[in-house]
Symmetry: C2
Subunit: 321 residues, 2 copies
């Protein structure tokens, strides 16, 4: 412990958390992928005031709650302090790079970045499992349930499946070479709550079997690195049909992407972000143009990018000011 | 074509089909495993009479239908002749090694053995996909639906998942080293029809998600060869609880096997065959004794064996008599 540690505040630690896709066809509520792209950044430093203080939020258009008990970043960090550093204090600054309500795991990304920054600022050495559990507490506040399907890839990176919630169990799956995504976020909002409420409470047993076996095929396709099998597996007859109706232009956009050779096309999370899968960057660029054209035609132009699977949340700098 | 081909009958070809486990925890209706053990044998030879003739059945205690249109072996071979050798004639002799209604894929095994024998007797070169499709026609007669979960491993061998029925799609999965089964068939019968009718028509969405993600975990565990993960994955909260009530002594037998360190324990097919998984032959022997004791105590003593994953149906001899 150096003399610096005795100052009222410590140095700033900054972490970045990537966007995450969730659901992925038959992987509703148990599958997520971290992808390249603008994400959330959180800076954290020790302070003399116990607990998690939110100094500022930028990039959210003033929409996110500032109260520590309602913001996913501060909720997650408060739990971290309670469990692993009782009495400690942290100041946080949140810079949103992810659009809210987009289906790219925005609420989870803030918690993931905040936890990685806090872990470093407090000199803790918490592992992925602990960080995911803490990030879920943020999701509990944002979504009403401690969904792990964004925060697990948000922390761990790559492609993850979450087969059990209590106790939490997740496994990382192999990332096939040449797996490219065209991601397009149409200019409309979908409430996660509304998108959940639209889902059927019950599913026919025959549909359950087909859904399950497609998830099995998805896992198999990732292990053997077969993108065509992956495309066969990424079919969702339970959740997607309901959510498709909440996104203007989605059916036409998907049809056009599939027509143009997309390996698969579906909705990330509750939407409206739509992903199309390709086996090369060139093909992903074409698919992105097709999605853009379709959603623009439907009156909901938005933003898109071509992306690959990425690492999870990571420390990006330790700044002294 | 030699002179022998002009005789009224050709030489006998004999094929063997192994027992098969199906369902396997979350793999209801989409997962099957071929295992070592007594199976069904079918002999086939060309005859001058068009179509499939059933000369004899041994080992079924007189219980199987002798009418060609109701016996799974002759139904499957009739379809084979219709599709691939119109006008040809075959005589069949069936020797049942598998007990009926046991959950070991008895009806499917007869069809698989018959098809492999017929394929050879007619000098055809049908592949696995074609043979599985034909064997499903036998299942349609026996079970009322063309279930592929016994006949696919019955033909292909190993561990298979069947993610799609129409068109049929199956994939073979890696077989972990040191995967041992204790198989016990208690002395009671379970009607497949009754066992299907007892199932719920609909499943809660949350249960569907958990079921699906366990199947994903099962596939992952096989790919990475992790028997402990396999045990976590082989949990079925949808089908097994219903079927468990149809098998006297099952809950106690399972509890005892799990207590004794079984990696997993569940029902094969509609039951009553119960399987327990172990990581060594020694442990599987212990589990077999435990299952035997529990079912005997419940008043339904039966037969069991220790087994490993096996090949599928195969030609065992070409006999001239």
């Amino acid at each position: 412990m150096g003399a610096k540690e005795n100052r009222t505040t410590g140095p700033w630690f900054e972490a970045f958390a990537p966007p995450t896709l969730s659901n992925i066809g038959p992987g509703y509520d148990c599958f997520g992928i971290a992808v390249d792209g603008p994400g959330d950044r959180v800076r954290a430093r020790k302070s003399a005031t116990p607990g998690a203080q939110l100094r500022s939020i930028e990039g959210d258009g003033g929409k996110l709650p500032r109260e520590p008990e309602r913001n996913t970043a501060t909720v997650a960090v408060s739990r971290l302090i309670e469990r692993y550093a009782p009495g400690a204090g942290l100041e946080l600054e949140l810079h949103k790079g992810l659009p809210l309500g987009s289906g790219l795991g925005s609420s989870g990304a803030s918690a993931c970045a905040a936890l990685v920054a806090a872990n470093a600022a407090l000199g803790l050495d918490l592992g992925a499992h602990q960080l995911v559990e803490l990030a879920r507490e943020g999701e509990r506040v944002a979504c009403g349930a401690a969904h792990p399907d964004n925060v697990t890839p948000g922390i761990v990176g790559g492609i993850v499946m979450i087969p059990n919630l209590e106790p939490l169990r997740f496994v990382s799956l192999p990332v096939p070479k040449d797996l490219w995504f065209a991601l397009y976020t149409p200019g409309c909002e979908v409430s996660t709550k509304a998108a959940r409420e639209a889902l059927p409470a019950r599913v026919r047993l025959t549909d359950t079997v087909r859904h399950a076996s497609r998830l099995g095929l998805l896992v198999h396709a990732l292990h053997v690195g077969d993108l065509q099998l992956l495309g066969e597996a990424i079919v969702d007859e339970i959740v997607e049909p309901v959510r498709a109706t909440l996104i203007p232009g989605y059916p036409d956009a998907k049809a056009a992407a599939v027509e143009a050779g997309a390996i698969a096309c579906s909705i990330s999370g509750a939407g409206p972000t739509t992903f199309a899968i390709a086996g090369s960057e060139e093909r992903a660029i074409v698919l992105l143009e097709i999605l853009e054209e379709a959603f623009t035609h439907a009156g909901v132009p938005g933003k898109g990018r071509v992306s690959q699977v990425s690492e999870g949340a990571r420390l990006v700098s330790r700044r002294l000011h």
